[in-house]
Symmetry: none
Subunit: 439 residues, 2 copies
């Protein structure tokens, strides 16, 4: 089984200016590929120390993965350091150079000379394309000459170096685009086939207890993860072929789906919003949102699904009472007596947005996200959700939810948690309104 070592390069990391999230992403991805990771090292922008860490890593691991230090500025030293470790010359990759110049030209700018260094690669290394940003990385499958430099004359294992930028979105894009495939081909001992079963409405420990007997399995392995107010069960099987691996995992996947029911909302790259989008498209239904405390987050997530313009007509972020009254027709009486954060207002908002847009579904969110604005009887974290719908029977239906999330959560957490619940309400309704009737 191959071993990788992750080297994060950047003084900003050692000063704590930046929270390193790349390491967790890389760790999870390596685990998915069945590649071991025994050490992770973070080092600053110091040439000597960078080279020393690279040598150490290449001696104790098969794969060196670096993050950071491939930008255009003088303290970006990763590529140079790799070349120095092996005494390899740095060649200008004309294709990359032209590409970077093109990026500037597209904005009517001339490329600053310093950006040229981003087109450098040690002789023998290939380019690791960057689909998002300007700086590509490199993939270098070390040859006998490089191994000799490390004093590894007759190793049988393949040693590789992959470099990524520190910007998370770019690193992820490059991983999915090229790096994962390369590592799979070069190192995957057998094939690992895995599927993530995404859950909403059940906690990690409850999920772990429910499927405790599966968590002890070796192949397929089942592991629970939590984050962003949802849980995932990852089922991973290892076999000679992808088909055998899938066949190993399938019965376990079926058992989990069976046991979880609607709480298992999707697989792998599914999100609550993508599932809602798929269901709306299948049913040929349209939706409109009236958001207050979430400020547009539900809308942003739902419209982030390609093609969502087919089923979304209008989302109104009615932040002020005036907007709730003028745009959604919430009566002044409700606003003055019950207030904007009330079940009555949520209902009027949901009805109002649906009537304004004549959509099939009207979803409303009103609450107190904090950090201020909370009162004794309406504390921070109190949220009312409403879903107004015209059923298949053409009957008017209305469903309500109340969240009491407590003061502990920050503003963003309250909004995200609320958006999760709002999207899940729509999902449950589209699967079967009965799921919403029992609170």
């Amino acid at each position: 089984m191959a071993t990788a070592e992750v080297l994060c390069i950047g003084t900003e990391l050692l000063l704590g200016d930046v929270l390193d999230t790349n390491s967790q992403f890389l760790a999870q991805q390596l685990a998915l590929l069945g590649i071991n990771c025994f050490h992770r090292v973070t080092v600053g922008d110091n040439p000597e120390r960078i080279r020393e860490c690279m040598r150490t890593a290449l001696l104790r691991a098969d794969i060196l993965i670096t993050s950071g230090g491939i930008g255009p500025t003088a303290d970006d030293l990763t590529t140079e350091s790799i070349a120095q470790v092996f005494g390899a010359p740095l060649d200008v990759d004309q294709e990359v150079l032209a590409f970077i110049e093109g990026l500037f030209a597209a904005r009517g700018l001339k490329m600053p000379p310093s950006n040229a260094k981003q087109a450098l690669r040690p002789r023998g290394a290939r380019i690791l394309p960057n689909p998002v940003g300007s700086a590509p990385g490199i993939i270098w499958t070390l040859g006998p000459a490089e191994l000799a430099v490390l004093g590894l004359q007759d190793v049988q294992t393949v040693k590789s170096i992959l470099t990524f930028p520190g910007v998370p979105s770019e690193l992820k894009g490059m991983w999915a685009g090229t790096a994962r495939g390369y590592l799979e081909e070069t190192y995957a001992g057998g094939t690992i086939w895995s599927k993530e079963l995404k859950h909403y409405g059940i906690g990690e420990s409850a999920l772990a207890e429910k499927f405790a007997h599966l968590l002890d399995l070796a192949n397929p392995s089942v592991a629970p993860y939590a984050g962003n107010w949802e849980c995932r069960l990852r089922v991973a099987a290892k076999a000679a072929t992808l088909e055998e691996a899938r066949a190993l995992a399938q019965p376990v996947i079926d058992e989990i789906k069976q046991g979880s029911g609607v709480r298992c909302y999707g697989e792998d790259s599914d999100t609550l919003e993508s599932v809602v989008g798929r269901l709306l498209t299948e049913r040929g239904l349209t939706i409109a949102l009236a958001e207050s405390c979430t400020g547009g987050m539900v809308s942003e997530r739902l419209t982030n699904i390609p093609g969502s313009s087919r089923y979304i007509m209008l989302n109104a972020v009615t932040y002020s009472n005036e907007a709730k009254h003028r745009v959604l027709g919430v009566s002044e009486e409700i606003l003055n007596t019950q207030g904007a954060v009330s079940p009555e207002c949520a209902r009027a908002m949901a009805l109002g947005i649906r009537q304004l847009t004549s959509c099939d579904l009207g979803l409303s969110v009103t609450g107190i996200a904090g950090p201020d604005g909370g009162t004794e009887e309406k504390p921070i974290g109190l949220v009312y959700l409403g879903l107004s719908a015209r059923g298949a029977d053409n009957e008017e239906r209305y469903f309500a939810r109340t969240l009491r999330l407590g003061k502990r959560l920050g503003r963003h957490e309250v909004r995200w948690r609320t958006a999760q619940e709002a999207l899940n309400m729509v999902r449950l309704y589209l699967i079967d309104p009965q799921h919403l009737e029992s609170p």
Copy 2:
């Protein structure tokens, strides 16, 4: 100046099950104490590798700080490993043992035998009390015997080991309670004061070239970072006191602000949306948004600022042409002839939302976020922004921006980049409309 090395211990970290936030906290705290940190290492629950990492750290640093591995379970190996490195016996600390037994007794429980190991400490080490949880750590100022084991017969520097649990709240409590004081006493090397200057509208390399003469400074040091379509310059100064450090940095900060002008939009925790919010509040102005391709992202960001309900009335995500026509009053002629993605539509949307809400500012966004919907003449990444305003002179003003972001960016990147530009338009207008007049 003393040097510390942070060693994070736990297989869950190397599997990516846990996001490591302790490292950033420790890094920031060490910087405040003026203690260097050149390496940070993460290792799994493997005795041999843990010992090897400890030896390496103690040879290249004065202070070894560990996080994790001091719980009651079999895979908690930190304390044992330290003892093994020096061949030191493990003593039971009766006080700690009684304390832990007390914790269980308080809950009417008998202490499980496994918890007794949390009362162990290598002979010669002191206890690092844990005000929050059950497991204390240790502080060990290494004596001649231990230094000899490391082959350091005649070093002048003091070498220390401090161990913390992995639980962030406990680690922070122990740091503030005891560890910081100990390190201050033993190693105090002045302190570091730093400020980040956030920029929009200038690339990292251009920024680095503009201030190239500053990037070579040693104290204060100036370093550029980029990400999320903006750039930061971090100015960090080291001195005996925080005041002296700030005084060292101030002239450089002033020079950068002077040189960057409006492209430097804020400091440290400022964001484009928080700056816009502050300016709107200062000017006593209100704003309303009409978003199409960003789907609510601008709204979500702007309303994520506490107190934003004071200046935001309504944000409309008008995704369909019908909504653009019915809610914003975009003429059918514009929609049919120029189309929804056109300068004319952006203008009509901005005017429409402002008239609907009678706000001071109306901001509109319409474009093609992809991945589909692009055409030859209207490619993916084409975005039109509009800002309609009633000036101080009560005169109607309108400002437009066109973005051509290209097909390379993903849907989310196009939206984020567009939101950055939209927020910056509002910022520039609020500072001085002239900044928008020259395209």
